[in-house]
């Protein structure tokens, strides 16, 4: 599995560290309540197929990226800068 960084191009997956599902971009309000925070921290769609997750290009440009990939085939479909997705 090689991962494409929008800045650096296709790179060895060892340059990246994995954060998990892109729910990380949808942090609830501090006062949103227990259910919203449980949802954010613990509960996952955990799809078999296409997913969007967060990777950090630690061994490269240092960008956080959102990768669209397939959890069954390990195909990497695309990636965007997290800063742009969050905007």
């Amino acid at each position: 599995m090689r991962i494409t960084c929008p800045i650096c191009g296709e790179r060895d997956s060892r340059e990246f560290s994995y954060r998990g599902a892109d729910v990380a971009l949808h942090r609830p309000d501090p006062e949103a309540g227990e259910a919203a925070w449980d949802d954010y921290v613990h509960l996952r769609d955990n799809p078999a197929g296409e997913t969007r997750d967060m990777w950090y290009h630690e061994g490269g440009c240092g960008a956080w990226i959102v990768v669209t990939r397939n959890t069954v085939t390990h195909e990497v479909i695309g990636s965007e800068l997290a800063a742009e997705v969050a905007r």
Binding site: S13, Y18, G20, H42, L43, R44, D45, N46, T51, T71
Partner: protein, 417 residues
């Protein structure tokens, strides 16, 4: 058909013509009292103990593939009771005791081998933790011995003791730990359940869970609809997907764990050895292959096969610990889909839907739990009460933060275990 030494002798002398299939291949009935989704180790053991200890027999196990095709047939077979935290400690202790009587109970040779496990440590701090963990194990009534460097050297002369980064300081020795033949465990429980009247339905994928007025009433399967009063979800890496059929989202992320085996060698590794700092562990199978593995690949995956970086990492760690294995040739590698929970401990609980029960979150350590998990989950499904040795595996502990069991102390979040 009972197995015995005499029987093997007789069959051997008469052309092995008297052996019969270990279980039936029945057609699904339209209704059962209890359905178990998932014919892995945990599902089969649950059905077995429901029949054996609770006198129930109108039960079916629904397996989408074949018996033993999931993680129960893909793991590295380590069986131990060396946990540290209340909740886990009494549960794994209970499970190990069931292992110790399992072969007689099932009349099946699961090749349970209590060859001992040694967890290596490499610093004063790690030694302190090993002592603390040993004390917890002893308090639980299990066995633990803290070995110093000389003590480990006597048992494992082949290690590199002066590795620059991780010199061996000693090891936590758990003599009752060991291994078992994974397939035989699945087959033994399958045969035991079948002989007590449980229907094992293979090639039967659950595609829907029927709920009416907050109560489960049955399931939809690739072999037609089946009604039931109670349904247990026991599908390991597929837990999120099956629970979604009941409209639930789980605190589970599916990850991949790889394992490796070499060509068969003469006996050279007598114990299970774990090198936590290098993310490496190893034992030798009865066929002679060195069976070893490491950590997760560390990204969500349903591929049941991993990528090369982790393969390389595991080989490097193995070479660092025991340079002699560089001469062995790796024959095969494979992966399994792990149901990772945020705190690294399992979930054995009811759900908010009446009659629907959940057993998952086994991460990379559910093989040793097979008898224990089946036993306590059967108790929960039959009596609607937690078993005394499994009161803390609540589904809602993540939401309220009460009773988290984070053995590694890394935090109760995904991707930290």
């Amino acid at each position: 058909m009972r197995f015995s030494g005499l029987r093997i002798l007789k069959e051997g002398l008469t052309g092995n013509k008297g052996w019969t299939p270990h279980w039936r291949d029945p057609e699904p009935k339209s209704e059962y009292d209890i359905l178990i989704i998932g014919g892995g180790g945990h599902g089969l053991a649950t059905a077995y103990y429901l029949a054996k200890e609770h006198g129930l027999s109108n039960i079916a196990v629904l397996e989408k593939g074949y018996i033993g095709g999931g993680n129960v047939g893909r793991n590295t077979t380590i069986v131990r009771a060396n946990y540290n935290m209340p909740g886990n400690s009494e549960f794994y202790s209970h499970s190990l005791k069931l292992w110790e009587g399992l072969e007689e109970d099932l009349n099946y040779n699961v090749m349970h081998s209590q060859r001992g496990i040694i967890n290596l440590f490499h610093s004063d701090g790690q030694r302190d933790y090993a002592v603390r963990r040993a004390n917890s194990m002893i308090n639980q009534g299990d066995d633990a011995i803290v070995l110093d460097r000389a003590g480990v050297k006597k048992m494992l002369p082949y290690l590199d003791y002066d590795n620059a980064r991780f010199p061996v300081y000693g090891g936590l020795y758990h003599p009752r730990g060991g291994t078992a033949r994974h397939d035989a465990v699945a087959w033994g429980f399958a045969r035991g359940a079948d002989s007590r009247g449980v229907d094992l339905l293979q090639n039967c994928e659950v595609t829907g869970i029927d709920i009416e007025g907050g109560k489960v009433i049955g399931v939809q399967t690739s072999r037609g609809p089946i009604k039931a009063k109670k349904v247990g979800i026991v599908v390991a890496g597929r837990s999120g997907q099956v629970a979604a059929r009941a409209g639930m989202r789980l605190p589970i992320e599916s990850h991949i764990l790889q394992a490796f085996v070499t060509e068969g060698l003469k006996p050279c590794i007598d114990h299970v050895v774990t090198f936590g700092m290098g993310h490496f562990y190893i034992s030798q199978s009865d066929k002679g292959g060195l069976v070893f593995g490491g950590d997760l690949d560390f990204y969500a995956s349903y591929a049941a096969r991993g990528n090369l970086p982790m393969a390389e990492h595991v080989m490097e760690a193995g070479m660092a610990l025991m340079p002699m294995i560089g001469k062995a040739r790796v024959l095969r590698s494979w992966g399994g889909i792990m149901d990772m929970s945020p705190d690294g401990s399992p979930i054995i609980d009811r759900t908010h839907i009446e009659g629907l029960y959940l057993n998952c979150g086994w991460c990379y350590g559910g093989f040793k739990a097979v008898p224990g998990s089946g036993n306590v989950f059967a108790h929960l499904m039959a009596t609607d009460r937690y078993h005394d040795n499994a009161t803390k595996f609540r589904l809602d502990r993540f939401r309220d933060g009460y009773g988290l069991m984070d053995e590694e102390g890394t935090g109760s979040q995904h991707n930290l275990h």
